[in-house]
Symmetry: C2
Subunit: 375 residues, 2 copies
């Protein structure tokens, strides 16, 4: 079995079960839960080299490597995590985890609700970034990791890293907050609301209990994905990649005519095949709710005061979902608290999705930060 150069190779997901109830932000309690996770590299004897990699909206615990016998099963951040890569698995022990409510094996709306013996469906509680972080902390306990060398993530993953820094300051050495924001803008929330409205009003949604009907609200999920997709890519990148290119010619019908149309439809179709609508609803809510400064009257500096770790904050010039200006709000609040913070604004044409790509300057910043601070 020959792995691609720099790949962690064949990996296997693992499952951890937690019997103690988890109290959630909403006030609800999960009596017990499971988390799917993967690890890459080796935890050293001092247990000091662990890096938690948090995922964003549509990803999972499968961060790096591939599954045996499954071609094209590379992890979603395989370019970032592996031997010789910025998160060098020759030095670090990286951990990927599917968040609570996610649809890749962790306890989720499609799981069986012990109270009813049926899938949770819409009875699955709304979970927040803070709930995810609390669940991840339980996983850390399970793995014998008292303190992460770093917690990192892009987009919603970056928000988890930020939340870790506030919530468990003694358990995190560095927070890598990439392509994130201190909270969602009204426009961000508006896009999420369109996505949710599309799912909630799909007749196949059945109030969230569609599992029992043998259907999935794929129409709504496709629309949700299309809306989201547009916000992940910069206007200029979409222009360069698709422009006004036609597939064949004008056909004066509502069939896809422009390349951008068929691209969006194809991506939406693929997404709706593997993603769960109840999960999508909840993850967009977790995004909307994230706002550490809510409890400090909107004062982000005070909200970040508990954080004591070092920070690397990265933004991308053409990211219009979470613009550099939003990242700089985080940086400013950290500087106001006299925290050790590095900030890089990466010139990249791709928009928000840039955090998943391997722009050399971006990867060099992550690499050198980790080399410098974690030796």
């Amino acid at each position: 079995m020959t792995a691609a150069p720099g790949s962690v190779g064949i990996v296997q997901p693992q499952r951890a079960s937690f019997g103690d109830p988890l109290r959630l932000s909403s006030g609800a309690t999960l009596p017990a839960f499971e988390l799917m996770y993967e690890t890459y590299g080796t935890l050293n004897a001092e247990r000091s080299n662990a890096i938690l990699v948090c995922h964003a909206l549509n990803a999972s615990h499968h961060v790096a490597g591939e599954y045996a016998g499954q071609p094209a099963s590379e992890g979603w951040w395989d370019n970032m995590v592996g031997p010789g890569k910025p998160v060098d698995t020759a030095r670090f022990f990286a951990v990927g985890v599917n968040n609570l409510g996610g649809c890749f094996g962790s306890t989720e709306p499609a799981s069986i609700n012990p109270a009813t013996g049926k899938p949770w469906g819409s009875d699955f509680p709304i979970v927040t970034v803070e709930d995810w972080v609390d669940a991840q902390a339980r996983l850390a306990d399970h793995l014998g990791i008292e303190r992460f060398a770093a917690v990192m993530g892009g987009s919603l993953g970056g928000m988890q890293a930020l939340s870790w820094a506030i919530r468990y300051p003694e358990r995190i050495g560095n927070a890598l907050v990439i392509a994130a924001a201190p909270n969602l803008s009204a426009q961000n929330i508006a896009f999420n609301e369109v996505a949710r409205a599309a799912i909630l009003t799909d007749p196949d949604f059945h109030d969230g209990h569609y599992y029992a009907y043998g259907v999935k609200p794929v129409r709504g999920l496709r629309i949700a994905r299309m809306v989201g997709h547009i916000t992940y890519i910069s206007d200029e990148q979409m222009g360069e990649k698709f422009g006004r290119t036609l597939r064949e010619g004008l056909n004066y019908s509502f069939a896809p005519e422009f390349e951008i149309e068929s691209y969006l439809r194809y991506q939406a179709e693929k997404f709706s095949e593997y993603f769960d609508a109840n999960t999508y609803l909840r993850i967009t809510k977790a995004l909307d709710y994230f706002d550490p400064a809510l409890v400090t009257g909107g004062n982000l500096t005070r909200a970040l005061a508990p954080a004591s770790c070092r920070f690397l904050v990265i933004s991308f010039t053409t990211d219009w979902r979470f613009s550099p200006a939003r990242a700089r709000e985080i940086v400013k609040a950290l500087v106001d608290n006299r925290r050790d913070v590095s900030y890089a604004e990466i010139l990249a044409p791709h928009g928000h999705d840039a955090f998943l790509l391997d722009t050399p300057q971006y990867h060099a910043v992550v690499r050198s930060y980790l080399e410098r601070t974690l030796r």
Copy 2:
């Protein structure tokens, strides 16, 4: 009957019937058609003071004034058109027209198809900006207007003004192209495609023949409107107006919690009550198709070469749907052709919707342009 100061007062829509077939861009032919229109002010003896006002996506022939016995029935551009207003009806004879395929009384998908005796539904042809302009030219003939002093409009209306200048150079003295673009970007098309996908996949759409089923694809139409609405408002304006303000508090459910959510839902609900889904599909297609430079290999300068009228081009700083950069493409192409063009980039926080508002600088520019060039 006292009209508000500066209002044209009580108005009445009129209907014009055209018996000659209209050949459309798609190759299809409409055997006959009707157009709803309104006029404001008096056509002078020389018939030289007529201004055609073209509407954008969701408006109509009802540009100014109000309907007898109908409170709050003001026209959509009432702040622009009226006695003493920038389009001063004491001097000008303004004409508003509902475009072909629109859903306010002109021949449209809900009209009876003479070939079947049933509503056209999805058999109604796809119409383009050029088709609208050709139909408007027929209306001009009907009204005895050989040449418009000006053709004006915002957004899609501005595209019609631009098309008039190219298509009927001898019949237009001035083109006022406001908040428009020479064509849609890939991102613009992508947003339209989401809107269409929402309508087309609504089970109540019935392949466009929903009239026969006594239903309307309101779910899809609402989503379409929500997506559109987000693009009409600037991020900063949405932030100032709604921010992250909650209606009551977090309720950890999918009911509207943030003000922006209930605003979007309310607007979408209202829109879905009065607008027709087949019309929405066609108008977004007309937007996507508009591209005068398609026939000149992408060369906008050559595309605009036939235009001989004077131009006023206006853009708004925070318009991210049709940004100032897009308007400047039009200006550049006109300058390259050595045409008489004035350009104003208006500092306005509202985004695309600014073209409907009465920002003083904006209205002053239109007013002084019309006073200067049409005396």
